[in-house]
Amino acid sequence: MSESNGTPRIGVYVCHCGTNIAATIDVFAAQVAAESMPGVTISREYKYMCSDPGQEIIKEDIRELGLDRVVVASCSPCLHEETFRNAIADGGINPYYFQMVNIREHASWVHKDKAAATEKAVDLIRAAVRRVRLHEPLEARRVPIEPKVMVVGAGIAGIHAALTMANAGKHVYLVEREPSIGGHMAMFDKTFPTLDCAACILTPKMTQVRAHPNIEIMTMSEVTEVDGFVGNYTVTVKHNPRYIIEEACVGCQECIDACVFRNGKTPDEFNLGLSKRKPIYMPFPQAVPQVVLIDPDGCIEFRTGKCKKTCVEVCADRNAIDFQQEVTFEDLNVGAIIIATGFKTFDATRVPRYGYGKFDGVYTALEIERLVNASGPTEGDIVMRDGRKPKSIGVIHCVGSRDKNTNEYCSRVCCMYSLKLSHLLREKTDAEIYEFYIDMRTPGKGFEEFYNRVEKEGVHFIRGKVADVYPEAGNTGKLVLQAEDTLAGMVRKIPVDMVVLATGLEPKDDAEDVRRTFNITCSGGGFFMERHPKLAPVSTFTDGVFLAGACQGPKDIPDTVAQAGAAAAEVLALVDAGFIELEPNTAFVVEEECSGCKTCVGLCPFHAIAYDNGKAHINEVLCKGCGTCVAACPSGVIRQNLFEDGEIFEEIVGVLTNA
């Protein structure tokens, strides 16, 4: 450990970053300019400072030349501040005796004029050199991590992530808004390209989740507030009432039979309105938990208070029905959160020319999934709304995708699921099937082979986006699909009995609210944003909050499961470390001088400031170093580590020296 006696000994390192910096900035000139700056003991340039040899140069200089401050002029601190801090700590000096200068994103990558860019780089380096002299030796604070974790959303992504972490011994809170876990996958019939039955591969996992001692399932529940920081989150969960005491209900469903409604009158949500249900119902046959629920909008007891309550009669020995059940809230402490809230399907009424909602014969792909499903509204028989069995079917690709009028992006799964539905429909009905596509996107394992298989089965493939769907003349009941067959170079008008719209995937309606609750960001298209599209696809910019599944972007089940596993691994890596090191760039109050005006208290976006005994006090564990209170304090008694007034003024002087 070498400390100077008052005069800092600064090492300046100018990185070429290959040609990223060196192509625009004269790194040699910058290195020479730094030599004469106040306090600089050595100034060097090197091709890749972040590399091992690069870092070794710094460590050697610290040892040989007794350096006690280091300035590296290279890329963004987001990328390598930690790298260099660790390097100099390794070399034997306090890691916070370091300042990084960004001469890439702030200079070489944004300016074309080489002379001006070099001059700017030198100014920035001078600023850093002046500042770093005033740095203090700070200590990163360690905070223990709460080992419990939370998964929000219990579709296949949430289920897989929960199981992985539970198997590793972690206690997992699995929060699901719907009355059952399973998500969209529980609605599918067969999955592409293997034609595995979705329920057959999903329900075992659902059962595992239910039986796992480490997983606490919370259905009918939503996250309303998230406080805290990585490793120490306090999450408020709202439990909506199902009017059934979960522990008492055994899922016998006698209450449903006994209900005063002889037939269902409410459109069944799981069957997308293609069938009706009673006000007391099981979400779907394989629901987990296998517990019924009551819908207060449909139930006569809720609407009028004067029902015979035959359901209660029949549940006499278990007494599981509780009309008085209320909303409850619960605060849970967790160390990390995985968001796996899934997607919603595109609302096809937004493309009026396809006639969804206007013509009975037009269906969305998800509605067809329910139709072909043996546990669906028609028990797997392909029967249309008007009772007809279709002899001809048209499948329209890209509904609400690849279209600047609705969603610009490609939804990734629709080509494959269209092929799958064509296969299933043809198998069940032998109908003539026409798929209208723009491109066939079949990139996954076995996908192209599946396309070939469906072609061989005699499905027609017409390359052309359908322009119009209208009823055939002469009241035949058919709908004409009009499109240009671009490969043949002719306009075709094909009458079919049934039209299937391959609707795209969109973020859920409340994605904006959810992202604000968890303090994450959204990317174009509205899906939650990953920290880095290539290297950090499951992390977010908020430490400790991870993403898995379609909420991050449209994807199929294999990719979803892979991503869920990745998110679980990241959580385990975080939590198993046992502690979190907090950046010491926190603000603090010089209490003796605090006048107790309370200006700062309400301003803190992280609720880190408390008012106690006439003084403001900052919880350095909650503080994120945003600087708001520092700037706001009228007496100037709030200061911030690494951003002291003196340090900032030195930077200003350094930048303006040649102005």
Partner: protein
């Protein structure tokens, strides 16, 4: 048709035309066409065209000027805008079509004898001279120039129209038609001045 007709060489491409075409809409939007075919699919006239708007745009983008400007596609377009509102890349197809019509006439590559082109010319002439159209004379002019025999079948309807007072034998004209003609000339002048710069 011999095989030769279907082979095109790079030398056949008119790169200047291609560049002019893709420059018609800002930010190279015309290059964003994904050739989905919804324009041709929604076009009420596509089945009667040499080739639909999709193929037209594709050929234009590649620089096959003669095919594009000499086609009947341009003239069959009725400006119903079905293509424009359907296009997933929000390309203003109809406006592009108008530009191609004008280019076809300017470049001399247009099907000069196509009835629609003939009509358009007759239209502009009549408007320039009198400021208003008299439908009967417009159609008569069209018939004379494209073949009266084609319109004999419509004689009955013509007589009907005369009888019910829906066709007039008197040329309609605006009072200040000289000013209008002058306006159009001044506009021409300005265009020349701008081009000269």
């Amino acid at each position: 048709m011999t095989t030769e007709a279907m082979i095109r060489r790079e030398a056949d491409r008119d790169l200047e035309f291609a560049a002019w075409f893709t420059g018609l809409v800002g930010e190279e939007k015309l290059r964003e066409c994904i050739h989905c075919g919804v324009c041709s699919g929604s076009c009420p006239l596509a089945g009667h065209m040499d080739f639909g708007p999709r193929k037209l745009m594709y050929l234009a983008r590649e620089g096959f000027a003669d095919d594009v400007l000499g086609s009947n596609t341009l003239w069959l377009c009725t400006s119903c805008y079905a293509c424009t509102v359907s296009c997933p890349q929000q390309i203003p197809v109809t406006d592009v079509m108008y530009a191609l019509k004008r280019k076809a006439i300017e470049s001399g590559k247009a099907q000069k004898r196509h009835p629609v082109a003939v009509m358009a010319k007759g239209f502009t002439k009549m408007v320039r001279k009198r400021g208003r159209l008299t439908e009967g004379y417009l159609i008569a002019g069209l018939a004379l120039r494209t073949g009266v025999h084609k319109y004999l079948g419509m004689a009955g309807m013509g007589i009907n129209a005369l009888r019910t007072g829906r066709i007039s034998l008197r040329h309609d004209s605006i009072k200040r038609h000289d000013e209008l003609t002058h306006l159009l000339d001044v506009v021409d002048q300005h265009r020349e001045e701008v081009a000269a710069k």
